[in-house]
Amino acid sequence: MDEPKASVRIYVAIYVALMALVALTTGLAYLDLAPWSATVAMVIAGAKAVLVILYFMHVRYGTRLTWVFAGAGFYFLGILFFLTLNDVLTRSWLSPFLGGTP
């Protein structure tokens, strides 16, 4: 059966890693890591998401088509974020007298 699967062991190992990352992210939240605190939190969240996607959702063992479609969502979401923030973050740019973002 050519189906993607992992062993129970791997699932449990990933789970332990995820729990560790939750503890880490909550712990780090109490430290003043400015200006990096948001970045750190997002990187840890991203790592958790990647673990869930690769192992729990079997993408690591899946076909290339699955990878493409899993990635496509992120790609277009990225465009939505990037080009919208491109507007939002530059509202005050060419005329400092018109005030900043709303």
Binding site: F76, I79, L83, D87, V88, T90, R91, S92, W93, L94
Partner: protein, 538 residues
């Protein structure tokens, strides 16, 4: 038909079961296509009715036919009906559903029950919107901009937005179905490079439907939340940002226009190749340009927002990116012309619509470039220039493609031939009526006539009169097929499997096709469009 010596009519998807419920619960993609055809025809004429009222009002400069608030509702409902409940589903839901499995040599789509569910969800959305109309309508414009839509409007925003919210799911599920079907259900030997160009266009359309629609879903959802709870993302008094809505809305609605036109372009490739008996010029370019339009179409939405309060810098970026999306469309137009060159052009009804499409789509597309130019758009935004631009593409392009598809595949879907003379006459009436309606709008828009106004300065009246006259002709052009196509169901001559000499797989089945499409799965060994190419000559 004599009862004694009647030939046994072979089983096909229509006569397989005549009970009403066998249609309403059918998971056969061909029946679902017909169900969509009926719904869409209804919604089209509802939207057309609102256009008729608008054009009547606009014959005189004074606002003397309807109240201003009523006029706001008319253009809103016209837009909502035409865009969401006709154009977006149109070719994919009718011709995509009917033809995709046939063109792929498959028995059905990947998820037939989901397909039927899509039709019910679609009509649930339509019902909600119709209820909002009956109760008094919506006046926000089909664009639903806050804060008016979320805080001030007293019209039935929630119902109409809810209808579109629901309809979005139908769009996503159909797109999903087509994507999986195209990847997984191709007949043996049918590689991607052997796919009909219509399939390529449906695939590109489906990608957009799946990835763009959720943005308008969440956008309208947030409007709904703000309307119900009076607090929300878009309320400036709370520090919210109305332009955020516009970003979410246009992230969908710009790619949505490609959802509307790409299937029309796919149809165009089928019409021109078959009715000029010519291989497509630049198959790979036409296929690739469909994907390019889908991807590039996601990068340009801010060109609808140049004067909204978006940052100037972002406007410049969007303007720059918007020029690129014209390139693949241009590639297609040149490829179609190359396909026609030295072809054996038969002036059948589908070909007439196909020829009209090329010219009108090109004009509409070129004016899109004017609008992409930031400095020009600042002046013509919210004028009739924009209205003319998108009607040239949507009506001159897309609706003509829809009618061309209707005539081209009518024999396949119904087993009957329509009366060719009436078909050609209607195509000509549509062409004349269309141009008379919309060309004056370019001129008056350029001269400053604002859109969405029911009363206007007297100097524009001559253009409006021409436009309204054209609209009445256009209306006749649309009504005629309704009559002669239905007439042909009973009195039209029976069509054979391949009345046009087409070469794609759907023409290898009887007309109408049997429920299971193919006796045995076809094995594909050659490219589609086995017509002579330019090099081979006639």
């Amino acid at each position: 038909m004599t009862a004694l010596t009647a030939d046994r009519v072979p089983e096909n998807y229509i006569n397989a079961d005549y009970r009403f419920r066998s249609w309403l619960f059918s998971t056969d993609h061909k029946r679902i296509a017909i169900l969509y055809l009926i719904s869409l025809t209804f919604y089209f004429f509802v939207g057309g009715f609102f256009a008729l009222l608008m054009r009547l009002e606009l014959v005189t400069p004074q606002g003397d036919l309807v109240q201003p608030e009523t006029y706001n509702k008319l253009f809103t409902m016209h837009g909502i009906m035409m865009l969401f409940f006709f154009l977006v589903p149109s070719i994919p839901a009718v011709f995509g559903n009917f033809l995709l499995p046939l063109m792929l040599g498959a028995k059905d789509v990947a998820f037939p029950k989901l397909n039927l569910a899509s039709w019910y969800i679609f009509n649930l959305g339509g019902l909600l919107t119709l209820v909002s109309i009956v109760l008094g309508g919506v006046d926000t414009g089909w664009t639903f901009y806050p804060p008016y839509s979320s805080l001030s409007s007293t019209s039935y925003v929630l119902l109409a937005a809810g209808g579109i919210f629901v309809m979005g799911f139908s769009s996503i599920l159909t797109g999903l179905n087509f994507i999986v079907t195209t990847h997984k259900l191709r007949a043996p030997g049918l590689t991607w490079r052997r796919l009909p160009l219509f399939v390529w266009s449906l695939y590109a359309t489906s990608i957009i439907q799946v990835l763009a629609t959720p943005a308008v879903t969440i956008g309208l959802g947030l409007i709904g939340i703000e309307r119900i709870w009076k607090v929300g993302f878009f309320n400036p008094a709370m520090g919210g940002d109305p332009i955020l809505f516009q970003h979410l809305f246009w992230f969908y609605s710009h790619p949505a226009v490609y959802v509307m036109i790409l299937p029309g372009m796919g149809v165009e490739s089928e019409l021109l190749t078959t009715h000029a008996r010519r291989r497509p010029y630049g198959y790979a370019f036409i296929a690739g340009s469909s994907l390019a339009i889908a991807v590039l179409g996601f990068l340009v939405w801010g060109h609808h927002m140049f004067v909204s309060g978006q940052s100037v810098y972002a406007s410049m970026v969007f303007s720059f990116l918007s020029f690129f999306v014209a390139i693949p469309s241009g590639v297609k137009v040149f490829s179609w012309l190359g396909t026609l060159y030295k072809g054996a052009i038969a002036f059948t009804t589908p070909m007439l619509y196909g020829l009209g499409f090329i010219g009108l789509f090109t004009i509409g597309g070129l004016t899109g470039l004017f609008l992409a130019t930031l400095a020009v758009d600042v002046h013509v935004h919210d004028t009739y220039f924009v209205v003319a631009h998108f009607h040239y593409i949507m009506v001159g392009g897309m609706v003509m493609a829809y009618l061309g598809a209707m005539h081209h595949w009518w024999p396949k879907m119904t087993g009957r031939l329509y009366p060719e003379g009436w078909g050609r006459l209607s195509a000509l009436i549509v062409f004349v009526g269309f141009n008379l309606t919309f060309f004056p709008q370019y001129v008056m828009g350029y001269l400053g006539m604002t859109r969405r106004y029911h009363a206007y300065a007297p100097e524009f009246q001559v253009y409006h009169v021409l436009s309204s006259a054209g609209a009445s002709i256009l209306g006749v052009g649309y009504l005629l097929p309704l009559f002669y196509l239905i007439w042909s169901l009973k009195y039209g001559p029976k069509a054979g499997g391949d009345p046009w000499g087409g070469t794609t797989l759907e023409w290898k089945t009887p007309s109408p096709p049997p429920t299971h499409n193919f006796e045995e799965p076809p094995v594909v060994t050659e490219d589609p469009y086995s017509f002579p190419s330019l090099e081979e000559g006639r």
